[in-house]
């Protein structure tokens, strides 16, 4: 049996449960709409106008996302290395150490110095 079938079963169970609970609540729960309920919640003040596509947000999150892509992909290279470690030998160990030095520590130090790890 394909080992991914049980995974699909659990996924379907979870989704079914979530759908059922939300669906039941839609049927069972009350529905008394009014203008105030349909407004965005901002602690009682007039809600800030929002652009239809969610509005603008700080560009620094983009930086975090790019950093994540770079570093996470680099971390990904370590998994096959770790699993097949015993078969690979000294050359691969040195290669990985060099790889980490180059692309992790140098990149990390660069971003660090350029203030990429400053949040406020």
């Amino acid at each position: 049996m394909n080992p991914y079938i049980p995974l699909g079963i659990l996924l379907a169970l979870g989704f079914g449960f979530a759908l059922l609970s939300v669906g039941t609540s839609l049927v069972v729960g009350p529905a008394r709409a009014n203008v105030a309920k349909a407004q965005a919640y901002e602690c009682g003040i007039q809600p800030t106008p929002q652009a239809p596509e969610g509005g603008r947000f700080p560009v620094k999150y983009y930086l975090t996302a790019m950093l994540f892509v770079i570093f996470d992909i680099e971390a990904l290279f370590l998994y096959p290395f770790a699993v097949a470690f015993d078969q690979l030998g000294l050359f691969t160990l040195m290669a990985v150490v060099l790889f980490l030095l180059n692309s992790f520590f140098v990149a990390d130090a660069y971003v660090w110095r350029r203030g990429g790890f400053e949040w406020d």
């Binding site: 609970s21 901002e42 929002q50 160990l93």
Partner: protein, 477 residues
């Protein structure tokens, strides 16, 4: 995917994997149902548990009305949220607003599929392991599922059409992805020790010693990141109610909100279960009990008990953290992840790789032996010791430089003259640049932080004296 199966089988055939050959699909369905019920019951219990423990920590009883000891409180809360109106703001994107909580709750369940609950047992005449499924990349699956669950959060924040959820969603995403790197790196050490990513093989590799001992640094990093990944106090910055109301689920109500709630608690169980599997021997009995009666408590259905106990230990830890620590600041938390956890974990992973390479049965560094003053030392251990010594020296050097800088900054801050009495003029005024508040004996930390701002103007120190004294006179005058 078949390629990966073949690869894993070739890489480490020596460690036995869970054998699913006698498990028909309907039995998998039964096991999936069992996991599902186990998770729902655990969540019902843990919410009550958390509220009771937090109550004890805050010297109040906690929920104690519904059922014995208030055990049915969570069930009552669930029923209540089902009978509540499901409000959707007008500005929200209807479709995404609806599916975001579904994604979050669904994905929370999936991670549990690869957690081993025990050894092989007989179930309806079939011999099957107490584990829903096992993949060559099982441990990665939990990380992947957590990545999809992050979509639930970010989509919920984005689709609400409201300010606080948008901020909460962005914060949550930044936090999750930042800590996912450290988490992913921390478990590399476990894979190095086990030589596999399949959870049943990892558990088997821990027969002699749980990985919490050889991979102690990884364990500590994993525990820190797992709190960050589940958005729990003290790092629940995505929902920090003191700052952004409820974060990404501000606009959710009724059952959809309950789905986020459910997902969060199941996620707590999932990350704890992964920690149990990777570091605490999974379903293995604790060392003392494992020795009783030739391992009679170690295997079969007993594993469920041990896994549950270990999970609840982590649950108590989560609650304990929430009960004792204040919320961190967002920038501190992010800096801690990127500037401390990730570099430390990387160095640790390399150190583990070197230690593994020096084992005699692998012998990457050869089997040469040098004689130092009559002592026979193998070259391999020399290399490892040298490497670790270099890391420790480098670390101390960095640490010393940092402490030196901090001491200097503190000294410079303390050297600024002109303590000012804020109440001198009859009503309180903040200190002007170059002035310093009289330090209160209770708030020493706060006072230093305040004084740090003027400390940056070291270059203009000479002018401070005159301005400060004149300021003071003006002020007093």
């Amino acid at each position: 995917m078949t390629d990966l199966v073949v690869l894993a089988a070739e890489v480490n055939p020596s460690i036995p994997r869970a054998d699913f050959s006698d498990t028909p699909v309907w039995l998998s369905l039964v096991k999936a149902l069992m996991i599902f019920v186990y998770l729902l019951l655990s969540v019902l219990l843990v919410i009550w548990f958390e509220r009771r423990i937090i109550g004890r920590m805050q010297q109040r009883p906690g929920p104690n009305r519904n059922g014995p000891f208030g055990l049915l409180q969570t069930l009552a809360d669930g029923m209540k949220s089902m009978l509540k109106e499901d409000v959707r703001p007008k500005a929200a994107d209807a479709f995404i607003f609806t599916i975001a909580p579904l994604i979050f709750a669904t994905m929370a369940f999936v991670g549990f599929a690869i957690i081993p609950f025990g050894g092989d047992v007989m179930m309806f005449g079939h011999r099957t392991p107490l584990q829903l499924t096992d993949l060559p990349v099982a441990a990665l699956l939990v990380l992947a599922v957590a990545g999809v669950a992050a979509y639930g959060i970010v989509l919920a924040g984005w689709s609400s059409g409201s300010t606080y959820p948008l901020l909460g969603g962005l914060r949550a995403t930044a936090q999750l992805i930042s800590y996912e790197i450290a988490m992913g790196l921390a478990i590399v050490a476990v894979f190095l020790y086990a030589g596999s990513m399949s959870t049943s093989q990892i558990v088997h590799a821990q027969q002699d010693m749980w990985f919490i001992i050889p991979a102690c640094v990884s364990f500590v990093v994993y525990v820190i990141t797992m709190v960050g990944e589940t958005n729990r106090l003290p790092v629940d910055l995505a929902e920090g109610e003191g700052e952004i109301v409820g974060g990404y689920f501000t606009e959710y109500s009724g059952m959809r909100f309950a789905m986020f709630f459910l997902g969060e608690y199941i996620n707590m169980f999932t990350v704890s279960a992964l920690a149990t599997t990777l570091f605490l021997g999974g379903p293995a009995a604790p060392p003392g009990i494992a020795a009783i009666g030739d391992g009679m408590f170690n295997g079969g259905w007993w594993g469920v008990l041990w896994v549950t106990l270990k999970l609840w230990m982590f649950m108590f830890f989560f609650v304990w953290l929430r009960g004792s620590l204040p919320r961190t600041r967002y920038d501190q938390f992010m800096k801690f992840g990127w500037k401390f956890l990730i570099p430390v974990t990387l160095v640790w992973v390399i150190a583990v790789a070197f230690m593994r390479a020096a084992r005699p049965e692998v012998g990457f560094f050869g089997s040469g032996v040098v004689s130092l003053g009559g002592l026979e030392i193998s070259i391999a251990s020399l290399i490892v010791i040298g490497f670790i010594a270099a890391i420790v020296l480098g670390g101390t050097w960095l640490w010393e430089t940092r402490t030196e800088q901090q001491t200097k900054a503190a000294e410079a801050a303390a050297a600024i003259p002109g303590e000012v009495d804020p109440f001198a003029g009859g009503h309180p005024v903040p200190p002007l640049p170059g002035q310093r508040l009289v330090e209160s004996p209770r708030g020493r930390g706060g006072a230093t932080a305040l004084a740090e701002a003027p400390a940056r103007r070291d270059g203009t120190d000479s002018t401070h004296d005159s301005t400060t004294s004149s300021d003071k006179e003006q002020h007093r005058g």
